[in-house]
C-alpha cells in the first residue's frame, strides 16, 4: 500500500497473508477541497425478513405522521424513532392465491422481493429476479461482493415446504434469475471468512493452522495497518481503531460461540460456528452486516431471519411452542400473546443493530443515515394469511433522502413494488416498472 498526499482510495485494503481487510469510509478518502461535493458515502440497502406475519395490533400505531409512542412490538425501536419510517397499507398482490390455492407462506416469501407470483411446484421452480439483485447487478460492480444473502435457520432447498410449493420458495429471499434463488449463508464463521478471508475459503489444513495459533486476522494485516495510521489524522485514526476493534470483537464472539456450542450440545445438527442462542446469532450476523456496510464490501444485503412457515420454538423467551402453529391462533388471547412476544423479541434484536449503526460516524452523519434497512414480513395477519398492510419499516435515511420519524399510510392495495422502485432510485438504479408496481411511492422525501 502506498500513501500519498492524494485522497485515500475508497477501495483501500489492509493486506496480509491470505487476508484483505477493507476499510471504513475515512475522512482521508475525501479530497480536501472537494469534500462537500464529490465524495458522499454510498447508499446501502438491506432487508431483514421475519416470517409468519406479525400481530398487527401490536405493530400499527393508531396515528399517522410524526412518530410518538410506539406500539408494543415496536417499543424497542422507540429510542430510535427519529431514524425510522413506518409504512401502512403496502400490499403484495402476487403473494395472494390468485387461483393457486393454499401455500401463502411459499408465495409470500418468493414474491416478497421478486414481485411476481411464483409457479406452484416442487420441481421446476420459477419466480423472478429479485429487486435486490437488480440493484446488485448495477451497484455491485463497485464492491467486492455484489450482495450478501444471510439467514439464521438451516433449511432445505428442495422438497415440498408449503402445500405444493418448493422449499426453495420458503427458504430464500434473493433470486439471481427466475429459476435460481440465492440460499442464505447461516454460519457466522463462513460469513466472516467470506468477508475477510480474501474471498477464498480456507482449506481444512489452513484453518487448522490458524486455529492452532489462534491468531487474529488483524495480526496478518498489522504491517499495513501501521503504515496507514502514520498518514491519517486523529479522527481517522480513532475511526480505524474502532473499526478494527469491532472486527476483533466479532472474532471473539465467533470463538466464544464455537466454544459454547461444544459445551451446550455437542450433538446439535447445526453448522459448526453457529451460536445456539438466537440473540447471539443475530448479533453476530448484524455485526458482520455492519462491518460489510462500513467497509463498503457490499451495498446490498438480504437477511432471512428464519424461514417462512418456520415452526422454530423460542425457548430463549420461554416459548416452547412452534412459531407457525402459534400464529394460527384462532383469536385465542394466550396464543396471540405468545406470537406478540416472538414478534417483540425479533424487533429487540433488530433495534440493537440499529442502535449500533447509529453510533458509527460516516460523512456528515451516521452509517445508518446512509442506509435503507427494511424490516418486514410477507404476511400481515399470519392467522388469516393476509397479504395487505404488510408490516414494513425502513431504518435509515437512504443517504439523507428520506424524511424519517414518521408513519406514512398509503391507500389500500398500494403495491409494495412501488416502494422498491423508490428505493432503487435512491440506489442510483432507475427502472420504470418492477413486479406489479404502479408507480413510485411518494411522500418519502425530505422535500
Amino acid at each position: 500500500m502506498t500513501i500519498t498526499k492524494k485522497a485515500l482510495p475508497r477501495r483501500t485494503f489492509l493486506r496480509g497473508l491470505g487476508t484483505a481487510v477493507a476499510l471504513p469510509f475515512l475522512d482521508a478518502m475525501v479530497p480536501a477541497l472537494a469534500a462537500a461535493t464529490t465524495s458522499k458515502p454510498p447508499v446501502r440497502m438491506a432487508f431483514v425478513y421475519v416470517p409468519n406475519g406479525i400481530i398487527m395490533d401490536g405493530w400499527n400505531p393508531d396515528y399517522e405522521g410524526a412518530l410518538g409512542e410506539l406500539p408494543r412490538i415496536l417499543k424497542p425501536l422507540e429510542p430510535y424513532r427519529q431514524d425510522i419510517t413506518l409504512f401502512g397499507n403496502l400490499t403484495h398482490n402476487t403473494g395472494r392465491a390468485l387461483l393457486d390455492g393454499a401455500g401463502d407462506h411459499g408465495r409470500c416469501c418468493a414474491s416478497y422481493l421478486t414481485g411476481v407470483q411464483p409457479r406452484k411446484t416442487v420441481i421446476d421452480i420459477k419466480a423472478g429476479v429479485s429487486f435486490d439483485q437488480i440493484v446488485a447487478n448495477q451497484v455491485g460492480k463497485q464492491t467486492r461482493f455484489p450482495s450478501l444473502e444471510l439467514g439464521m435457520e438451516d433449511a432445505r432447498q428442495a422438497g415440498d415446504c408449503d402445500s405444493g410449493y418448493s422449499c426453495a420458495y420458503t427458504n430464500n429471499l434473493a433470486w439471481h434469475s427466475e429459476t435460481q434463488p440465492l440460499p442464505p449463508v447461516l454460519d457466522p464463521r463462513a460469513l466472516f471468512e467470506r468477508l475477510f478471508g480474501n474471498g477464498m475459503a480456507l482449506t481444512p489444513a489452513a484453518r487448522a493452522r490458524e486455529n492452532l495459533y489462534r491468531r487474529s486476522i488483524l495480526d496478518f494485516v498489522s504491517d499495513d495497518t501501521r503504515k496507514l495510521e502514520t498518514g491519517l489524522g486523529p479522527t481517522d485514526r480513532r475511526k480505524l481503531d474502532e473499526y478494527l476493534s469491532s472486527i476483533r470483537e466479532i472474532e471473539r464472539q465467533i470463538e466464544r460461540a464455537e466454544k459454547d456450542n461444544a459445551q451446550i450440545d455437542p450433538h446439535m445438527d447445526k453448522p459448526y460456528g453457529v451460536p445456539a442462542d438466537f440473540a447471539e446469532h443475530f448479533k453476530l450476523m448484524s455485526d458482520m452486516m455492519t462491518v460489510a456496510f462500513q467497509s463498503d464490501l457490499t451495498r446490498v444485503i438480504t437477511f432471512l431471519v428464519t424461514h417462512e412457515g418456520t415452526s422454530r420454538p423460542y425457548r430463549e423467551i420461554d416459548i416452547p411452542d412452534g412459531h407457525h402453529p402459534l400464529t394460527h391462533h384462532r383469536n385465542q388471547p394466550d396464543l396471540i400473546e405468545k406470537v406478540t412476544q416472538i414478534n417483540s423479541y425479533h424487533v429487540r434484536q433488530f433495534a440493537a443493530w440499529i442502535a449500533k449503526m447509529r453510533t458509527i460516524r460516516e460523512g456528515d452523519g451516521s452509517l445508518l443515515d446512509n442506509c435503507m434497512i427494511v424490516y418486514g414480513a410477507g404476511l400481515s395477519d399470519g392467522n388469516r394469511h393476509l397479504h395487505e398492510d404488510l408490516p414494513t419499516l425502513i431504518a435509515g435515511r437512504g443517504g439523507s433522502h428520506f424524511k424519517t420519524g414518521r408513519r406514512i399510510v398509503y391507500r389500500k392495495e398500494t403495491p409494495m413494488c412501488n416502494l422498491y422502485l423508490a428505493m432503487m432510485d435512491r440506489m442510483g438504479v432507475h427502472v420504470e416498472h418492477f413486479g406489479d408496481s404502479t408507480g413510485r411511492l411518494d411522500a418519502l422525501d425530505l422535500t
Partner: protein
C-alpha cells in the same frame, strides 16, 4: 377471492359506478343478491369519482350483506377495500348521507363502515387490476355506470391490457353518466380489448324499478336496509327509478339469459329491449335487489386441476405461437 367448488365459480363482477343515482345503489343491491344466490361473485366495487361518502356507502352495503355470516366463516371473512377515483370531491348527496347518518336508539350508526378516510380505500385502477389477476380466464365482467376514469387509468397500466383480454369476457356500460369524463370514455371505447355492450338511455327509462317495491319486497328488512334508506332519501316518495345500471348489471351476469337483444355485430354493441321480456326483467330486478343477506360458506381454494389445465392450454398456445 373465489367461491368454494371444484368447477369454475360464477362470473366475477367488477362494479365501477359514480354511486350518484339510485339505480347505482339498486344495482349494487342486485349484485349482492346475485352473489347470495351463487349466480355471480363480487370481485370489486369501485367509485368512479372522488366521493368518499359513496365509498363509505358501498362499504356499508357490503357489511350489511356480510352481517348474515357468523361463526368461523365470519372470523375468516375478508373485506376487499372499495376502489375510489382521485379528483375533486363530489358534492354531498342525500342518497348517501341519509343512510350513513342514520343512528340507532343508542346513538350508534345503523350501517357500519370501516372507511374513515381516503386511505381506507384503494386506488380504483389498482384494485381492479389486482382482482382481475384472481379470476379464471374469461370469467369476469366489468359493469361501468359513471365516468370511465378508473378504466382509462387501468388501460394505461403496464401489461394490464393483456390481463383484461385474458380475464374479462365483457364490459357492460350504462350509458348515462359516462360523459362526465369524455376523454376517459373515448379512450375506453377505443382501447378496451373485450366486447363492450352499452345500456342506452332508453333502456333504463323503459324499465323503471317500481317504487312500491320498497315497501312491499323489502319489508323483511324492517327499515334497516341501506339501499332502502338511500331510495327514500334520493327523491320524494313514491317514485319509480330508471334502471340504467341495473340493466347493465343484469346483462353482465346473464348475457345468455335472454333478457335483452343486442344491436349490430362486432365488439361494440347496444342492449335492445325485447318488450316481451320487460315484466321478467323487472321481476328479476326486484328479486335480486330485495334478496335477503345470505350467510357465506367458508371459502376454500379452487381445485388446482382447473388452474393446471388452464396453464397447460396457455403453454400450448405459446408453443404454437413460436
Amino acid at each position: 377471492m373465489q367461491f368454494p367448488g371444484t368447477a369454475k365459480p360464477p362470473v366475477g363482477i367488477v362494479f365501477d359506478s359514480a354511486m350518484r343515482r339510485i339505480d347505482d345503489a339498486l344495482a349494487l343491491a342486485m349484485l349482492h343478491g346475485f352473489e347470495g344466490k351463487d349466480q355471480a361473485r363480487i370481485a370489486a366495487v369501485c367509485v368512479s369519482n372522488a366521493d368518499l361518502q359513496a365509498a363509505q356507502f358501498c362499504d356499508a352495503v357490503g357489511r350489511f350483506y356480510a352481517s348474515a355470516t357468523t361463526g368461523p366463516a365470519a372470523m375468516f371473512m375478508h373485506f376487499m377495500p372499495i376502489g375510489l377515483a382521485d379528483g375533486k370531491a363530489a358534492a354531498e348527496s342525500p342518497m348517501l348521507s341519509a343512510p350513513l347518518a342514520k343512528k340507532s336508539a343508542d346513538g350508534k350508526p345503523v350501517y357500519a363502515t370501516a372507511v374513515k378516510s381516503v386511505n381506507d380505500t384503494a386506488d380504483g385502477a389498482t384494485l381492479i387490476r389486482n382482482v382481475l389477476m384472481a379470476q379464471y380466464d374469461q370469467n369476469a365482467a366489468v359493469v361501468l355506470s359513471g365516468p370511465a376514469t378508473d378504466l382509462a387509468r387501468l388501460l394505461d397500466m403496464y401489461g394490464v391490457k393483456e390481463w383484461i383480454a385474458r380475464k374479462v369476457r365483457l364490459l357492460c356500460v350504462a350509458d348515462s353518466g359516462i360523459q362526465a369524463d369524455a376523454a376517459a370514455a373515448r379512450k375506453v371505447f377505443a382501447e378496451w380489448p373485450t366486447p363492450i355492450v352499452t345500456a342506452g338511455r332508453e333502456i333504463g327509462e323503459a324499465l323503471p324499478f317500481p317504487g312500491d317495491s320498497i315497501d312491499k319486497d323489502f319489508a323483511w328488512s324492517a327499515e334497516r336496509h341501506p339501499v332502502v334508506d338511500a331510495y327514500r332519501a334520493y327523491q320524494p316518495m313514491p317514485y319509480d327509478a330508471p334502471s340504467w345500471a341495473m340493466a347493465a348489471m343484469l346483462y353482465a351476469v346473464h348475457p345468455d339469459g335472454g333478457y335483452f337483444k343486442l344491436s349490430g355485430s362486432g365488439n361494440r354493441r347496444e342492449l335492445i329491449l325485447d318488450p316481451e321480456q320487460k315484466e321478467r326483467i323487472i321481476r328479476t330486478y326486484i328479486e335480486m335487489a330485495s334478496a335477503k343477506p345470505v350467510a357465506r360458506k367458508p371459502r376454500r381454494p379452487p381445485d388446482d386441476k382447473d388452474k393446471k389445465e388452464e396453464q397447460k392450454k396457455e403453454e400450448q398456445k405459446k408453443e404454437a405461437a413460436k
